[in-house]
């Protein structure tokens, strides 16, 4: 469904744009319907940039992003873009900044209606909204007609997912959607993503938190400095991390029932099979090597 092929994003920085900042380096990946793909990385890994490029908010410097065969970087004009957003939607990290504070929260639904469904009757539209709100397991009485500050972060994120459901979305880009939420409501949003996946949606789940990426995703992509360090079925990536950076991340993430010392010991006791990391022939490319079926390992950037 969604396919990124050798995507690069280079920013010009500094006075007169003399410097180059490589935010995304030679990234190729796929998202299929009914599949959650986690993009995991620390700050500066390029994970959010990839999400924004898929949403057409940034343009890649080179490479192609195709959605059902169409290269989205070639989409021109308002109508074509609108048609794309009918099928691909996003939810962002900060629910408090996703709502315009001076309007009621359900205005996000009205915007969809005025752009995409101007002909739908009030009653019909209300039914659709109620259905979408039901899907994200919110009580309409608690959320409709409220201002953003009257809602909790979890309610807001679910409203935004409901907004996406009003369109016939096939792909949802969830950019750090739960990092601002409290622990007790986080899991509800994660479960909701899992529900959507069962309904056949493809989800690109961008996160910095290994344990969250792990909970919902079918495949995980670990990014470092814009390039893919390791990519594969989530279970394999977490059980048999091959890239030194993945192992490093696993050793640093605080886990609930295992101390750092225990994790260190565990990792040391299970060294990865001897494995030659691919070497980049130049500063631009970042080749991957398939270590086992569907499990890829990328270059080591020190």
């Amino acid at each position: 469904m969604l396919e990124l092929s050798h995507v690069h994003k280079v920013y010009r920085v500094g006075a007169f744009g003399g410097g180059r900042l490589r935010a995304v380096r030679d990234v190729s990946l796929k998202v299929e319907p009914g599949e959650v793909v986690s993009l995991i990385g620390e700050s500066g890994s390029g994970k959010s940039t990839i999400g924004k490029m898929v949403l057409g908010l940034f343009k890649p410097s080179s490479g192609s992003i195709t959605f059902d065969g169409t290269d989205i970087t070639t989409i021109r004009g308002h109508t074509a873009r609108k048609a794309y957003y009918r099928r691909v939607q996003g939810v962002f990290q900060d629910p408090f900044s996703s709502f315009n504070p001076i309007f009621k929260a359900d205005r996000v639904f009205e915007m969809i209606r005025s752009s995409y469904f101007p002909g739908v009757s009030d009653a019909d539209w209300r039914e659709r909204v109620l259905k979408a709100i039901g899907t994200v397991r919110l009580d309409p009485d608690n959320v409709l007609g409220k201002y953003p500050h009257q809602l909790s972060g979890g309610q807001m994120q679910r409203l935004l997912i409901a907004r996406a459901l009003l369109l016939d979305v096939d792909l949802l880009v969830a950019d750090e959607v739960i990092s601002m939420l409290d622990a007790s409501t986080r899991i509800d949003v994660l479960n909701l993503l899992a529900d959507l996946k069962e309904r056949g949606l493809g989800i690109l789940f961008v996160t910095h938190d290994l344990s969250l990426g792990n909970y919902v995703s079918d495949r995980s992509v670990i990014l470092r400095k814009g390039a893919i360090a390791e990519m594969g079925p989530t279970a394999r990536v977490f059980e048999n991390p091959l890239h030194p950076y993945s192992r490093h991340l696993l050793s640093c993430v605080p886990q609930l029932h295992r101390t750092w010392a225990e994790v260190d010991a565990e990792l040391a006791a299970n060294p990865p099979d001897h494995f030659e990391l691919p070497v980049a022939p130049d500063d631009e490319s970042a080749p991957l090597v398939e270590a086992e079926r569907g499990h890829f390992v990328g270059i080591d950037q020190g």
Partner: protein, 303 residues
């Protein structure tokens, strides 16, 4: 919202019955009616504005007509005295106020429209458009505006206050453009702007419905400053003899007072009213602006 930011438990829905917009308005009002700077500034500006609007209706002759005895100090019939030619200074003053406010509104308005449009487009679009508009802004910014105005107005035979307003507007927008641009730049990175894009909204609707309302206080203040600025520039032009060739303004009054040596003749009633008028309008506009800033900006509020 702002006064309780950071206090725990306030984000809760249950005990916040009133909606933001209303609460925000009432909150702004709450601080507005308690802000002496705002009230004093607004009071003076409104009084002078009303004088300029209503005053001329009570004067049944042309302000430049020679109606009375010459060089009279203020008295019961001619409240502010007369000029060396016997013109009624009160009549000139109220008509002058009217045109001063007109030039402020017109010049300030033109500058505001250009400045905000350039600022919004540059801030929202970014990239090459931003760079081009920025360059344009900087060019106009470094032009010696007064010199350009002098040259331009000197070439026009018939100068009305609208022509003057247009010229002032065309030269004084750059700083407003810069201010609006920086605000728009930061607001356009908000997620709700991205969401509006994902909702298939067009650029101009995003700017007018998502970005502009969130900086309305900022826009109001920019307009007030541009308004005051135009009045000052117009007064300067009038004073050096490049004002409207027909009609009357506070600047023109000052000019003729100087031209006919009112200072040497000790005719203080000729130059003090227009001078004081301009100073008071602009001064109270600035005080009003400081007051508004305190009302809108929670960090400056004295709790």
């Amino acid at each position: 919202m702002s006064e309780i930011a950071g206090a725990p438990g306030t984000a809760d829905a249950a005990d916040a019955p009133e909606p933001t917009a209303e609460r925000k308005t009432s909150e702004v009002l709450h601080f507005a009616v308690r802000n002496p700077k705002l009230l004093i500034g607004l009071g003076i500006v409104l009084t002078l504005l009303l004088t300029g609007i209503i005053g001329p209706f009570f004067i049944d002759h042309d302000p430049n007509e020679y109606v009375g005895p010459q060089s009279q100090p203020p008295n019961g019939e001619y409240w502010l005295g007369t000029t060396s030619f016997g013109q009624d200074i009160w009549a000139q003053f109220v008509y002058g106020l009217r045109s001063t406010f007109l030039i402020g509104a017109f010049g300030g308005g033109v500058a505001f429209v250009i400045g905000t449009t350039v600022g919004f487009v540059a801030g929202y679009k970014g990239g090459i458009i931003d760079e081009i508009l920025n360059m344009l802004t900087n060019v106009v910014l470094v032009l010696p505006a007064l010199v350009v105005l002098i040259v331009a107005t000197a070439y026009l035979d018939v100068r009305g206050i609208f022509v003057q307003g247009v010229f002032i507007g065309l030269t004084s927008w750059p700083w407003a453009a810069r201010a609006v641009r920086s605000q728009a730049l930061s607001l356009s990175t908000r997620d709700y702007v991205d969401l509006a894009r994902l909702s298939g909204r067009r650029t101009w609707r995003i700017i007018t419905t998502e970005i502009a309302p969130n900086m309305s206080s900022y826009l109001v203040m920019s307009f007030i400053l541009l308004f005051g600025g135009s009045i000052l520039i117009a007064a300067g032009l009038d004073f050096i003899g490049l004002g409207p060739s027909n009609g009357v303004s506070l600047g023109l009054m000052l000019e003729s007072a100087m031209k006919w040596s009112s200072l040497y003749l000790g005719m203080w009633w000729w130059f003090i009213p227009p001078g004081l008028g301009i100073t008071t309008i602009v001064g109270s506009l600035y005080i009003l602006n400081v007051g508004l800033d305190e009302v809108f900006n929670p960090k400056l509020r004295e709790l």
